[in-house]
Amino acid sequence: MEGDLAHIGAGLAAIGSGAAAIGVGNVAGNYLAGALRNPSAAASQTATLFIGIAFAEALGIFAFLVSLLLMFAV
């Protein structure tokens, strides 16, 4: 088949989604740990939490995009 290498590349790129998952888990977990230590400060930091999650997740989305491009556009 013609597209074999591209498919392998797409699969490899999809590993990036798992890495992004680790990143997002890190952000959320640390937020939760901090929030349990100081619950009164938690509410003021939810915006920061979402920004952090968004930045971490964006890189996973990039990996996903690379995978999609390899699958459909190359």
């Binding site: 997740e57 964006a58 190359v74």
Partner: protein, 252 residues
């Protein structure tokens, strides 16, 4: 090879995860020109109609004790207003209508896209790129208008050691120009990924043995997508606020 990967069947399974994003004209079968009334146009205008229904018709009574629809509209207003005020500062309140437009448009596009067989405009990079680069250009122009050349101080990290500053400036510059790209691709990628995953799960439903699991998976992913639809609108808006803050107060 693309066609092969795309529409092809292996053991009875048919995956067309990308077909839901095809733009087609709604009247006639012709080409898609600039002004053709396509499914993109339909769902964008539906989003506009929903915004009008919520924000104008819902509040038409101006009730002091709000009805349900009016309280949703007020909730959205208060939510974005507080976000602008908290993140960007009190002097940015005059940009509130623009930011609110972005928020309500993205939120409604995302939610409408969750209706089965609908079309999701925000999954298209062309559309989110206009939104993202629009924010980027507006914010950059605003930064130079408000602060003049001192806006470039954003890239010159004065708290770092002198030797590191040029390197940091390059990094800051790159990250500044990556902003609109990540800003737009984050939204499109999230929505596209969610909808493609839904389609893939739906494809598995063709096998009878896996069908219950597949339906369960679709339900779970759908719930996640409802959450993502809101969170992406929120994230896009709050990042716009953050960029706006950088433009208005570059020295931080």
């Amino acid at each position: 090879m693309a066609t092969e990967a795309n529409g092809h069947s292996e053991g009875g399974l048919v995956f067309h995860p990308m077909d839901q994003f095809i733009v087609k004209p709604l009247f006639g079968d012709g080409a898609v020109g600039m002004f053709t009334f396509t499914n993109v146009a339909l769902w964008l205008l539906l989003a506009v109609a929903c915004v009008v229904a919520l924000m104008v018709l819902g509040t038409s009574k101006r009730a002091t004790v709000p009805t349900r629809v009016q309280s949703i509209a007020e909730l959205a207003y208060g939510f974005v207003y507080k976000m602008v005020e908290d993140v960007t500062g009190k002097d940015a309140v005059k940009y509130f209508p623009y930011i609110f437009t972005l928020f309500i448009f993205i939120a409604f596009s995302n939610f409408l896209a969750l209706i089965p067989t609908s079309f999701s405009p925000t999954s298209h990079i062309a559309i989110t790129a206009i939104l993202g680069f629009g924010v980027f250009i507006a914010v950059t122009a605003l930064g130079f208008i408000k602060n003049g050349a001192s806006f470039l101080g954003l890239f010159w990290v004065s708290s770092a050691p002198l030797a590191l500053r040029p390197i940091l400036a390059v990094i800051e510059l790159i990250s500044y120009f990556v902003r609109p790209v990540s800003h737009s691709i984050r939204l499109a990628g999230n929505i596209m990924a969610g909808h493609a995953v839904l389609k893939v799960f739906a494809g598995f439903a063709a096998i009878t043995a896996v069908a219950p699991l597949s339906i369960l998976g679709i339900t779970a992913i759908y719930a996640l997508e409802v959450l993502v639809a809101f969170i992406q609108a929120y994230v896009f808006t709050i990042l716009t606020c953050v960029y706006l803050k950088d433009a208005l107060h570059p020295s931080h």
